[in-house]
Amino acid sequence: MFSKVISCAVLGVNGVMIGVEADVSAGLPMFTMVGYLSSSVKEAGERVRTALRNSGYQLPPRHITINLSPANLRKDGSGFDLPVAVSVLLAEGSPVAVDMEHIAVIGELSLDGSVKPVRGVLSMVCHCHESGITGCIVPRENAGEAALVEGMKVYAVSSLQETIDFIQGRYVSEYVKPAVSSEAILTDQEEHDFADIRGQEMLKRGMEIAAAGFHNVLMTGAAGAGKSMLARCLPSIMPELSFEERLEITKIYSISGLLTERDTLITKRPFRAPHHTVSDHALTGGGMIPRPGEVSLAHHGVLFLDELPEFGKNVLEVLRQPLEDRKITISRVNATYVFPADFMLVAAMNPCPCGHYPDMKKCTCTPVQIMRYQNRISGPLLDRIDINMDVKPIQYEELFMGRQGEKSSSIRERVERARQIQAKRFDGETINFNAQMDGKMLQKYVSLPQEGQELMEHAFRNMSLSARGTHRILKLARTIADLDGSDSIKVIHLREAIFYRNSGVNQYVS
């Protein structure tokens, strides 16, 4: 007898429908699985047989064939255990009380018959919903994320027996969606607050602009000046995530297996700070069946690279494409995977190996050493950075006698206001922030007064800007004007944008 159960797999960040077919026929007793399976899926056979037996179901001594279709797609992961088990039972003639054509089954089996959580449930359930599936059976641990999909009936199960009871109509468990109250998000306690940082007014201003318009930042300064601390405060002023953005981030974390049962929905903007020994694959995502890397885990959030020159050259260069395209494409023999990677790059570096330049009384480096150190960051990468800031080590007076800085919450209010202006501007576009504008949108949304055009022309010649550099200044100026609540970009906004841009003034050595 033949049966078919619907399941789902993940390709990149998106789901793919998989049909799990079982056939039980006369012949030598065998359990065969086909359908371009990776070894972790092939092993499912053993788990299914044992789990069935331990749940009280004896497999008949007959020829059992399992096929996972489409057969041209390589299947990976452990989520097929449960659908295979269900499909075998159905093929044997087990009674069915629910509409199995519109219910997807996902889950891993343990030998004792209990159901274990799997990665990527959110992506799968989303895709199921789009494909017209109305319900899904998922492991209890994954029920929270599955329930995020509006209009999907989620049946949480914790064992094979429960699953069978549900299918046979003896037991109904629809997962009740936990309410994500808006209050819960607001009370998210940020560990770091800008008020804790004394002085460094210019840096704070730079961070505020960066957060408002999603601009990339590079901080250069002596060790201990507060670069890392500032970067860690950044999430506390970042604008709130929309529900769609949260879902996107949660999908990525779901695939990576980083969701816990409690945090089924990521509500905070991610802050990823990989160590500088990170490999290029860990950063971009990789593996035979690629998994998201740090750039994708920082999607809609901050990727903080401390000690930028210490990162491998090839590691830094792979950042260029995602910085421009806001996604990363990984090609493998089997398929091409696209992961979203819309992150804000925040980098910090020392100005020279000893860390004291430009304080020539303390700096022990030769000009060549300084130049070499700074040249480790390639021009094309620097070109993608909108806000360049030099950090001066803080003075004693500022540290102990300065006034307390502005609280993150009040900075965040301004950022939020600027974001709302941008949301209105980009209504109907695919982007949310000024920094994401492409050339076409720039023409549509950014216009300069006569005076500003003259200023830009002057800056273009004097700073030997690239076309990209010019565009980036305009986007930055737009953000500064938004923070100012101004409809048009004024000369002061442009001047400030150019001030932050100014990556050329660093070469005073020799």
């Binding site: 430009p358 000009p367 030099d390 002061i492 001047r495």
Partner: protein, 388 residues
């Protein structure tokens, strides 16, 4: 072979004999007088006249002039000229110093020092200077070049490079004395500067093609820097700096030594401050150098020429009131406020914001307009100084 070319070849030959140093060359010159005589001398003559057997061996080993001719061709191809004592373009100032170079390789424009008032000033200093030193070096070079002075330095990193750049900026004539081969750019990052100097001044070296820079070569080239100058200005020097060797050479050669003062206890200016204590003239304005140099010359020929000393030295009221002053007087109130916060000590943007009290956006915008007017600049990103 035309006589000039023959002389060139002979000089090249004499100065490139393997193992024959300056001392032996001087010795041979004393015996034979002209180089021609040395070359023409037979083995017996040499053995009779020259006491040192080694020297004779060296001379006998290299009697082939075709090598030198090829070398000269190679030099001509690279537009490198040679001058030697007796050559019309050999610098007069070097004629009178002890240990004058027997040959100089020159790339660029050679000028005869026709006018005694065409003053020549050597400016040297630290290879790793502060912003202050760099700015002072550049300012002195610029203003002296504007006055028609020849500005001499060593094209090293730091002060030297700032000096050449300053002189070139003013459209002046500048001379770089290298411590390595004439065609070797050292430090490598000065390649562009090297070519600039070749076009608007001259690069000079005692050493021929492809001589690698070596630690021993730099101190001895310092005597040429001071020799070519009427006075040496030391801008910024640590306690044990190569620039102090140049100052010593200058004193030995009877040149004036000037020093730009630094703050007490400033490590980067310890050398210059010590010079001042020892009697070097402390200068803060290029005019002071010209006044000092021309002060003792005035009696000789000025009166004969029937000119007022002021004309020659160039002190005039217009000079005092320069363009910067005009701009400074026409600043907007906010600009004045920001400008008054700044000095030659680089000031960090945060401190400017704090001191001026006009807010971040305002301060940045004001700094931008001041920078556009050219009266302040950003030597390092985020730090501002006034221009001098």
């Amino acid at each position: 072979m035309c006589p000039d070319r023959e002389k060139d070849v002979l000089n090249l030959w004499f100065n490139n004999i393997e193992g024959l140093g300056a001392a032996r060359r001087r010795y041979l010159r004393e015996i034979f007088g002209d180089i021609r005589n040395i070359y023409d001398a037979t083995e017996t003559q040499l053995r009779q006249l020259v006491q040192d057997d080694k020297t004779v061996q060296m001379l006998l080993k290299s009697q082939d002039l075709s090598v030198s001719e090829k070398y000269l061709e190679e030099l001509t191809k690279r537009e490198i000229k040679i001058v030697y004592p007796g050559h019309p373009y050999y610098p007069d100032r070097l004629m009178h110093i002890y240990d004058a170079p027997d040959i100089l390789y020159v790339k660029g424009i050679l000028r005869r020092e026709e006018h005694i008032y065409n003053r020549s000033i050597g400016i040297v200093g630290s290879r790793n200077p502060d912003v202050y030193g760099r700015e002072m070096a550049s300012m002195f070079a610029r203003k002296l070049a504007e006055k028609g002075c020849i500005v001499v330095s060593g094209m090293a990193r730091g002060i030297d490079s700032a000096v050449h750049r300053g002189a070139l900026e003013a459209g002046g004539y500048t001379v770089a004395v290298l411590g390595c081969g004439i065609n070797v750019t050292y430090p490598p990052e000065n390649a562009e500067l090297y070519h600039e100097i070749c076009h608007h001044g001259a690069v000079i070296s005692e050493h021929g093609l492809n001589v690698r820079p070596a630690p021993g070569l730099f101190p001895i080239r310092n005597r040429i820097i001071s020799g070519l100058s009427d006075g040496i200005l030391v801008v910024e020097a640590r306690k044990k700096s190569g620039s102090l060797i140049t100052a010593d050479c200058a004193l030995e050669q009877g040149r004036q030594v000037y020093a730009v003062p630094g703050r007490a206890y400033d490590l980067n200016s310890e050398g210059t401050n010590n010079l001042i204590k020892q009697g070097a003239l402390c200068v803060t304005d290029p005019e002071e150098i010209l006044q000092d140099l021309n002060g003792d010359m005035r009696s000789d020929s000025d009166e004969e020429a029937g000119r007022k000393p002021e004309e020659i030295i160039g002190i005039s009221d217009e000079y005092r009131e320069n363009d910067n002053d005009v701009i400074k007087n026409s600043l907007a109130p906010a600009e004045k406020m920001v400008y008054s916060c700044l000095s030659l000590e680089p000031m960090y943007i945060d401190d400017i914001i704090g001191a001026s009290g006009i807010g971040i956006t305002g301060a940045i915008s004001t700094l931008y307009s001041l920078e556009e007017k050219g009266i302040i600049k950003q030597p390092i990103r985020g730090y501002y100084i006034i221009t001098v």
